[in-house]
């Protein structure tokens, strides 16, 4: 009997065939669910989908399974729902704030009416400044230990700031060391720098410009790493440049010292007799120096001929030194003023006893039991509170710094932009391209400004507790103002060099500033006795005595003993030594780990290259083998049937059906053949290409 090809078999299926059919159905279902991720043209996907659906529906009935297409569609919908909203935005990290308004702790004591008054009038006696706080040990029914809490909050803020800065640095260092930042620099720039979301012509222009700049920077780095120059001349010039910079710094330091001395003289003579300039000379001079010296440093650095990133780091370092020098000169001058106030205090104390004696008319003795005469608080002569004076100076400094920044912004950026834009119509040369042009937004300069602002806050926060809160307000205003200024008057920087890859350069600066800022405060706490009649520590011989007091009165006796043993220098010094050794050990091990990491990465790269080469070789061999094999096997049969083989003619994307006699292609390998959807072009050595299925 003739065997008709294509005749349907009767519905009796053996268990193995049933199993195979079930597998086939499952595979088809899987194909349907992964269809959207396949790199096929839509026409092919739709066709495959239709065929697979038909297959599944046809044979699922035969297998008698309960699962219907509806349930499957439900599962797909669930998957889609789980995959997330297509327009969801990515979460952004928020920067942790290193400062807190520690004045919030004193909410019970705020008197809002007082705060709204002038800063240096009534506010002098308000909660803004140290002088307001009472030295009473425990307040209210909760027995709130005010002086203790003032002290601990002050110390605690500094400790917390240290922790935050160091933790951020560690995190940055981790991210930096883990990534493969340099291995695909140019490739990534080429293939992933254009943002496909851009639809606005201006944005596109900016993006083109920034991509070009980024490439130029990378090219420059590459070229610099292959350059070498006349070493001696360069060295001489660099030494000369550093000498000039040192002269500059010394000059500015002396200028500030001189000005501070003069202002002290004016203060002695009485402030009213001098002009506005003379009264605010110190702050003005400091601000002006801060504006013009960096420009000078920039000009001097042209002598040095450094790599742009290194030059930027030197520049920032010098500005840093300038600000630090100025700040410390300011503090030394402040110390002089503090000493002056303390002398005044001594004199006042003397006068106080005389005045008290005069109140009692000299008739009563010290241990008298007569009722005290009530005197209005405002009539009692107040001692010159040096701590409040310090707080005031800092607030004044910050306010003038803020004002300088805003005025520079308005004049240097806004006015300049207005002039360039409108004078350009009637000027001989092109103002926009030529001399003044629009000002650049200097990222590193602004970051440095923020860091110094923070340093000043850290310095003054102990004596003016509301300073952090004021600063938060100032930062908000600055942000909006500068946001507007950048959009309206600035052009992007020409050089897109960053001072450091991971911002750790700036964090390191912040850490140094934190350390240097808290030194003066700590010095004053430890050395100078507090004022006798103002502040939470009044009457004590040293501010940290409050700790001693608390230990004695609030804690059980044995605690005090333990504490005194623990703070014995004989115990503390070895402990410190141990910590230093531990740090040294940890540093050396981390260095060796980094080294080992780099070596492993290099090894990995070479190994993967070798493996790729070997794989390609094996595949070439397999194809040539397959080719010869199937040629031998297939050719007689095709003569017989004249079947659907089109294997010898290389048509595009024709999948050889599994029932054909050709050997199945290895699955799951990355076959270097034509990509789906492309016109198939035969490789020179291979005549046929098997299934190129991709998962």
């Amino acid at each position: 009997e003739e065997e008709k090809v294509g005749e349907e078999k009767p519905e009796v299926l053996s268990p193995e065939e049933l199993e195979k059919l079930k597998e086939e159905v499952d595979e088809r279902k899987k194909l349907i669910s992964t269809l959207r991720g396949k790199p096929w043209p839509m026409r092919k996907k739709l066709l495959t989908l239709r065929e697979s659906h038909e297959f599944v529906e046809k044979y699922e009935g035969a297998l008698g399974k309960g699962k219907s297409r509806k349930l499957y569609a439900y599962k797909v919908m669930m998957l889609k729902a789980l995959m997330g909203r297509p327009y969801g935005s990515m979460p952004r990290k928020t920067v942790p704030r290193a400062d807190e308004a520690n004045a919030m702790d004193f909410a019970v004591l705020w008197d809002f009416g007082v705060i709204t008054n002038c800063l240096f009038g009534y506010a002098q006696y308000s909660v803004l400044f140290y002088g307001y706080y009472n030295s009473q040990r425990a307040i209210g029914w909760l027995k709130f230990r005010m002086p203790l809490s003032y002290f601990l909050v002050g110390v605690g803020t500094v400790a917390y700031s240290y922790m935050v800065v160091i933790r951020t640095m560690a995190r940055n260092a981790n991210e930096d060391g883990g990534g493969d930042n340099n291995s695909f620099n140019f490739s990534w720039k080429m293939f992933t720098s254009w943002d496909y979301l851009i639809g606005n012509p201006e944005t596109a222009d900016n993006k083109f410009a920034s991509i070009t700049t980024s490439f130029k920077e990378a090219i420059l780095e590459e070229q610099e790493s292959r350059k070498d120059d006349n070493i001696h001349l360069t060295r001489f010039l660099r030494v000369l440049a550093n000498f000039l910079v040192l002269c500059c710094l010394a000059g500015s330091g002396y200028l500030i010292y001189f000005v501070v001395r003069r202002s002290q003289k004016f203060a002695l003579e009485g402030l009213e007799s001098h002009s506005w300039w003379e009264r605010n000379e110190v702050n003005m001079v400091m601000s002006l120096l801060g504006m013009f010296c960096p420009m000078l440093f920039d000009v001097i650095s042209a002598l040095e001929n450094y790599h742009p990133r290194i030059a930027l780091q030197w520049q920032l370092g010098r500005i840093f030194a300038l600000f630090l020098g100025n700040l410390y000169t300011f503090i030394i001058a402040l110390m002089d003023e503090i000493n002056l106030k303390r002398e005044e205090e001594e004199v006042l104390k003397l006068n106080m006893t005389i005045w008290e004696a005069s109140l009692y008319n000299g008739t009563l003795g010290v241990n008298s039991t007569a009722p005290p005469i009530t005197v209005h608080p405002a009539d009692i002569p107040r001692g010159p509170c040096w701590e409040t004076m310090v707080g005031q100076e800092f607030v004044r400094l910050i306010v003038s710094d803020t004002m300088t920044t805003y005025i520079t912004l308005l004049i240097g950026d806004f006015l300049r932009a207005v002039l360039v834009r409108f004078l350009n119509y009637c000027w001989c040369w092109d103002l926009e391209a030529g001399f003044p042009s629009y000002s650049e937004f200097d990222v590193s300069g602004n970051v440095l400004g923020l860091i110094f602002n923070q340093g000043m806050i850290w310095m003054g926060a102990f004596y003016a507790p509301c300073l952090p809160a004021l600063n938060v307000l100032r930062l908000h205003v600055s942000m909006y103002l500068q946001c507007w200024a950048v959009m309206c008057c600035n052009v992007p920087q020409e050089r897109v060099f960053k001072a450091s890859g991971s911002n750790n350069f700036y964090m390191a600066m912040l850490l140094v500033i934190l350390f240097l800022s808290t030194l003066p405060a700590i010095y004053t706490i430890v050395t100078i006795p507090p004022s006798f009649d103002c502040g939470p520590f009044s009457g004590k011989s040293r501010m940290f005595d409050v700790i001693q007091e608390t230990l004695e009165s609030d804690f059980p006796a044995w605690f005090g003993k333990v504490f005194s043993y623990a703070s014995n220098p004989g115990l503390v010094l070895p402990f410190l030594l141990l910590m230093v050794l531990a740090i040294y050990y940890l540093q050396s091990t981390s260095k060796s780990y980094k080294q080992a990491n780099l070596e492993l990465k290099k090894k990995l790269q070479t190994v993967s290259r070798t493996i790729n080469k070997v794989l390609t070789l094996i595949q070439h061999l397999l194809y040539s083998l397959c080719g010869t094999c199937t040629d031998i096997v297939c050719s007689p049969e095709s003569k017989k049937k004249g079947g659907e083989h089109r294997a010898h003619q290389g048509k595009s994307n024709h999948q050889i059906p599994p029932s054909a006699t050709s050997p199945p292609a290895p699955r799951g390998h990355r076959i270097p053949g034509p990509l789906p959807g492309n016109q198939w072009q035969p490789a020179p050595s291979v005549q046929r290409v098997p299934n190129s299925q991709r998962h």
């Binding site: 043209p41 839509m42 989908l49 297509p86 490739s187 943002d195 083109f208 490439f215 290259r609």
Partner: protein, 187 residues
């Protein structure tokens, strides 16, 4: 749902949903966008699957593609005839691959196609030079262009044939931190 739209049959919409990363609503909206590109060419009724294509010039005038330096290559890579004439199927496919939910592997395959200007399945030096010139609007000097292309091939080429095969490209692009966020068009 109660909405009776007559553009597609339900089976068609379900099929599109299975084959792309879009929902029914998005597909209908895409059809609206496709239609407004050439209202006289594109019928509102797609139930009988009309064989209509829109030429390249009209597609690249869309605001989403207008500023993209690779717009021509993108449209050509998704067209069946390779010349940039997109049927609605190709149109939907294109935006599906470029959508936010498309996986990295799929995007890498199409990115390779896009940057392969001479369509030979390899990113050779000429392809890279063309890519770079489009990216920088030819602001770099020829020496700089050569340097960048040589460095890029040096970095990514694993099998040592001085051009990038798909394997080389994929190996490099899957490590790129910015790839998914930049290779994304929202429509």
């Amino acid at each position: 749902m109660g909405n009776k739209q007559t553009i597609f049959t339900d089976e068609q919409l379900d099929a599109y949903q299975d084959c792309t990363f879009f929902t029914r609503k998005e597909i209908l909206r895409l059809h609206g966008r496709y239609h407004e590109l050439a209202p006289h060419l594109v019928p509102m009724d797609y139930t009988n699957e009309p064989d209509v294509t829109i030429p390249l010039a009209l597609i690249v005038s869309m605001p989403e593609l207008n500023e993209n330096p690779f717009r021509n290559r993108i449209v050509e890579s998704f067209s069946e005839d390779g010349a940039g004439n997109l049927s609605f199927n190709d149109f939907v496919d294109m935006f599906s691959v470029l959508s936010e939910t498309a996986p990295r592997e799929l995007k890498a395959i199409y990115a390779f196609k896009i940057y392969d200007f001479n369509v030979d399945n390899f990113l050779c030096k000429e392809d890279l030079e063309k890519t770079l010139n489009k990216l920088t609007r030819e602001e770099l000097s020829p020496e700089e262009v050569t340097l960048v292309c040589e460095k890029a091939i040096e970095e990514a080429d694993l099998d040592g044939d001085s051009k990038l095969s798909f394997a080389d490209f994929e190996n490099m692009i899957t490590r790129a931190p910015d790839f998914l966020s930049t290779f994304h068009i929202r429509i």
